[in-house]
């Protein structure tokens, strides 16, 4: 049977017409088998375009992941949000155990800072601290003054119903100093203020204290009880505290 099948298929051949048509089709499709060489000019344009796109996308990514402002939220948890030029939260960092816990609990990364701020301020941890007479401090610092002013204004709106919430601005240069001490910007500002009154205080001590404890300590030592008088979020319309009574630049 194998032979019969072989014999049968042996009688089947491709028609010459079919071969000729196929050859003609291929000649047409390949432009008579001419190799298309991409000219040097087009190669250069293509390479430049690719390079440009690469630089653009790399630059875009770098821009996106570069913080232009930080928002420090301190009460007992100390959390710092890194904000990029597109008003997106690109980092959420806790500066104490409670801060780490809060940062893990509230998923605000890559969201708009207004949403993130609302989520953090209205979180159960923060509202509980506030109801226990905690002092909420929101500090804004950054290289983009306009953005910082907007953030501060939004932070005030966000905490307008809270009596013990304070919003203020810090200098951009103080961000790095704060991080070197292992403190959030908000706590670092409080540390500087307390240090001016009591030079024995250390960043480690401050790190373990709640904002209420720091405030009470400052108030007990301070000759005049002016702390944040004009900084209550629901009272201050001016926005920032650069050069206020304590002389720490915030």
């Amino acid at each position: 049977m194998s032979n019969n099948i072989k014999e049968t298929f042996n009688k089947i051949h491709a028609e010459e017409e079919l071969k000729i048509k196929t050859k003609a089709f291929l000649a047409r499709k390949t432009d008579n088998y001419k190799k298309r060489r991409v000219s040097f000019k087009y190669q250069t344009i293509a390479i430049t375009a690719c390079l440009f796109l690469f630089i653009l996308s790399a630059g875009g990514l770098k821009l996106y992941f570069t913080p232009t402002s930080v928002i420090s939220i301190d009460i007992n948890p100390s959390v710092e949000l890194g904000i990029n030029m597109f008003d997106r939260i690109i980092s959420v960092k806790g500066y104490n155990d409670d801060g780490n816990e809060l940062a893990d609990l509230v998923d605000v990364k890559y969201t708009n800072y207004k949403y993130g701020l609302e989520q953090l301020v209205n979180s159960q941890t923060v509202t509980q601290c506030l109801s226990n007479n905690g002092a909420l401090s929101i500090t804004v610092a950054g290289s983009n003054q306009k953005q910082c002013n907007d953030i501060l204004s939004n932070a005030k709106n966000c905490t307008s119903g809270q009596q013990n919430a304070y919003c203020h601005m810090a200098n951009y240069s103080q961000i790095e100093s704060a991080h070197q001490c292992g403190l959030s910007v908000g706590k670092y500002m409080a540390y500087l203020e307390l240090k001016a009154l009591d030079s024995s205080i250390t960043p480690e001590e401050i790190s373990g204290m709640t904002m209420r404890e720091i405030r009470d300590r400052i108030n007990s030592i301070s000759p005049e009880d002016t702390y944040y008088q004009d900084e209550y979020c629901n009272q201050n319309e001016h926005g920032h505290t650069n050069g206020h009574g304590h002389g720490h630049g915030y």
Partner: protein, 160 residues
């Protein structure tokens, strides 16, 4: 891209094989023409380096079978019936050969390739498995079943 001379040699060498595979899968001349164009254009543009002629032949068989399957599955074809959809058997085929060919063409598609590759091209089950990307045991099963089906259609003849 391959040279014209290379392509013309391949057309002379493999046209019959492609024609036979087209015949067992397709039912009209226009489709066969399409497959010829598709397969050889793929060859022209392909940069595959063939180790030897056997390797090249296996490539043509696999590409042709895949092209036939794609054509059969194509959206347009699945919804239209060609006016010249008739079994495209050669006119001068003797009655005995015609009977065998009709028996092979009446097999379900998955058996036709196996029968052609084994009985005509002389490939072993292992080689067929490699060409069709099928398990060797599956090829054995398909061969056994196709043998039985051909036996029923053509009577008791030696199929080995």
């Amino acid at each position: 891209m391959r040279s014209e001379q290379e392509v013309n040699t391949a057309i002379e060498r493999y046209s019959d094989t492609i024609k036979r595979l087209c015949m067992i899968h397709l039912k009209n001349y226009a489709d066969t023409e399409d497959i010829f164009q598709t397969v050889f254009l793929k060859y022209v543009l392909s940069s595959v380096c063939f180790e030897n002629q056997e390797h090249e032949k296996a490539w043509f068989i696999r590409v042709t079978i895949n092209a036939c399957r794609d054509l059969i599955k194509s959206f347009f074809r699945s919804r239209t019936v060609s006016m010249d959809e008739i079994i495209n058997l050669p006119d001068k085929l003797p009655p005995d050969n015609r009977q065998i060919l009709e028996a092979i063409l009446s097999l379900p598609p998955k058996y036709k390739d196996i029968v052609y590759l084994h009985y005509y091209e002389g490939y072993t089950a292992v080689q067929i498995g490699k060409i069709l990307k099928k398990n060797v045991n599956t090829v054995y099963t398909l061969l056994t079943r196709s043998r039985q089906m051909l036996k029923e259609k053509l009577g008791d003849i030696d199929y080995e």
